[in-house]
Structures are given as structure tokens and as C-alpha cells.
Amino acid sequence: MSLGIRATNGVVIATEKKVSSVLVDDSEYEKIQLITPSTGFVYAGMGPDFRVLVRNARKSAQKYFLRYREVQPVSQVVRESALVMQEYTQSGGVRPFGVSCLAAGYDDDGPQLYQIDPSGAAFGWKATAIGKNYINAKNFLERRYNDEVELDDAIHIALLTLRESFEGEMTEKNIEVAVVTSDRVFRVLSPGEVRDYLDEAT
């Protein structure tokens, strides 16, 4: 399950990182990926399909930068990924992408959160969840969210929402959290930072 919350001064996205066996080296795999310095993606669905989308989105963002020497705005990043996903629903010999993506970023229009579906439809959200138990998570978010929420509160709410549908104990090793603030730098929080937030949330 992955979720995202837009605050007045930034966006937070978080995901559970369930591994199939204790033998898996989970430090090697990251679900949250950077697309531009200011925008990141997370997904729910098929990891390999997500990788392809990330690669495309990154290339397209670099092409944008080469042309305009400006970081591609979040809405444009989303637009181009959505376009690719739509093409795969209407072309021969391919199948639609088996992922829903959440895009979080900060640009001249402020903090933004978008969801992109396999159909290619893209929506802007104040807060949303995708993947397992997303309906329960969204109900939880509806109760907890308000328009004035700030980033620290948003991270807190995100962790609580994640825990609602988490099987087993939630630690900094089996979730990933990322934020982007008004400094326009998208970054994944280190396990230490996540642990601090988790301790607060307990």
C-alpha cells in the first residue's frame, strides 16, 4: 500500500516495503524513486512495470531540462507519464502498465500530489492511498486530513494510516517515507529519521 498527503508547505509519500522472505536483502530495493530534483514517484502494483515508467519519466525530464534549462514542473512530469500509460492501452502488442503511481513534487505552483492510473488518467489529490486496503486508508485520511495541515503533521498522519493496514510490526526497515518541501528538494528519509517519526507516532 502506498499513500501520499499534501500539506501547506510540502508533500509526503510513504509505502510499505513488504519482502517475500527474511532472506531478502531489503536495503537494495527502493520503491520510492526520484524523477526530477523536485519530484518523486511511488507505486502500487508490479515493480518491473514501475521501473520502466521511472526510466521514461527521468529521460523525459532530462530532455525537458536540456531544452529549457528549467526543472520540469510536476504537472508536466505527470502529464508525460500519463501519456505513455495511455498509449499502452491503445497500441498493438503491448499491455497496460500494471501500476498505479503517486507523484509528489514542489514547483512554482506549490506542493502537489498526483495519482496516475493504468488507464492513463491522472488526478490531483490532497491526500490519497493506492494498493492493498486503499479504501480503508482513504476513509481514515478523509477523517484526519484538513487543508491547513503542515508537513510534520502530514508525516504523522501518513504513518498512522500506513499502520492501520500493516500486518505485523511496522518499523523503519519495512516502510519507506519521502518528502519534498518548499526548498524543492525531493528526498527519501533515512531509516534513522523514519524511526524518529515512528517513535513520535507511538
Binding site: 531544452r67 529549457y68 534549462r69 528549467e70 514542473p73 504537472s75 508536466q76 502529464r79
Partner: protein, 204 residues
């Protein structure tokens, strides 16, 4: 005879205090013969950005259309105007795309950012950019233009003063060039808008 000297022309842009100016002559010639005295070489791109192009007249007109196409598409996609720096980067990219069969023009870009910060930039025909703090020149009399601008330019000129300095520099420079002149046009861009003036000058 160089292709960039076939039609003749002179463009210059200068930074002022919270304003920019861009000016050009109005001559269109076919080598030594003057064919028109109302040939504009400066085109608006947005409310706050203008581009002037010196060089082969057909390419000047075509590039104006190409750039308008690109900027309109940008505006439709992104729902906002392009910033001057982004526009300059775009021009550079478009010119370099034709690296081995170039557009025969030398662009000069003048604009104001959203916050009213002045921006000027110039390039060669394959897109090598220059982003100076003072002035930029292009055309058949760049040695003349560079000379007078260097002498008369001052930082932080008010719009009216900027107009005076640019007009005098342009006139002095084109009067010593056979292929430029026959009328002149100056645009001063401020946060209030663009003030365009034509200057009476020697018609030879």
C-alpha cells in the same frame, strides 16, 4: 560576401533599472540595393519577452514563426508564459538542432522575469549563448555597436535614459554601415508594458 551580410541589419539590447530595451534598424536590402525601409526584426514572444534577429531575412521571418509555435505550445501545455531564461535556452537548442545546416541568424533576446528582473542574451547562429550584464549586439555593424555601447553604457539607467542612450548608440553605429539604417525602432520593456518608438534618422 557572407550570407549573414546579404540583407543587412543591426540589433542591440541593453539592460536598465528594472527595465530592458531592444532596438533595431528597419532596412531590408538585397546586397547594396535597399528594398524596404519598414522591415521589423524584433518580435514579441510574450508580454515581457522580445527577440530580435539579424541575418538572412527569410530565416528571420521563419524563426519568428517557429519560435511562436514553440512558445504557444508551451503556453497551452503548461498554462503559463515562458521565463526569459527558458526561452533563451529553447532558442539555443533550436539553433543547435541545425548545427550542420544552420539558420543564418543571430538572435538577441530581451525580457523581464515575473519579478521584473531584467534579462538579455545573445547567440551566434548555432546557439552559443552569451548572458551579459550590460548589452548585446548583432548584425552587420557589431564592431560599431560594441564600440559605442561600451562607451555610453551605464548600469541602472531609468527607462527614459535607457531609451536615449540606446537611440544614440544605434544611430551612431548604423550611420557608419552601408547595410544598416534607413529607420530605427526602439522597444523599452518595463513591468507596465512595452513602449515602442520609431526614431527619425538619416535615410541613406
Amino acid at each position: 560576401m557572407s550570407i549573414l551580410h546579404y540583407n543587412g541589419g543591426a540589433i542591440m539590447a541593453m539592460k536598465g533599472k528594472d527595465c530592458v530595451g531592444i532596438c533595431s534598424d528597419l532596412r531590408l536590402g538585397i546586397q547594396t540595393q535597399t528594398v524596404a525601409t519598414n522591415f521589423k526584426k524584433i518580435f514579441p514572444i510574450t508580454d515581457r519577452i522580445m527577440i530580435g534577429m539579424a541575418g538572412l531575412a527569410t530565416d528571420v521571418l521563419t524563426l519568428d514563426q517557429l519560435l511562436k509555435f514553440n512558445c504557444n505550445m508551451y503556453k497551452l501545455r503548461e498554462n503559463r508564459d515562458m521565463k526569459p531564461e527558458a526561452f533563451a535556452a529553447l532558442v539555443s537548442t533550436l539553433l543547435y538542432e541545425k548545427r550542420f545546416s544552420p539558420w543564418f541568424i543571430e538572435p538577441v533576446i530581451a525580457g523581464l522575469s515575473e519579478d521584473g528582473v531584467p534579462f538579455i542574451s545573445g547567440m551566434d547562429l548555432i546557439g552559443a549563448p552569451e548572458v551579459p550584464d550590460s548589452f548585446i549586439t548583432a548584425g552587420t555593424c557589431t564592431p560599431n555597436l560594441n564600440g559605442v555601447c561600451e562607451s555610453f553604457y551605464e548600469k541602472d539607467l531609468e527607462p527614459e535614459q535607457l531609451f536615449q542612450v540606446m537611440s544614440q548608440c544605434l544611430l551612431a553605429a548604423v550611420d557608419r554601415d552601408a547595410l544598416s539604417g534607413w529607420g530605427a525602432e526602439v522597444h523599452i520593456i518595463t513591468t507596465e508594458g512595452v513602449h515602442t518608438r520609431q526614431i527619425k534618422c538619416r535615410q541613406d
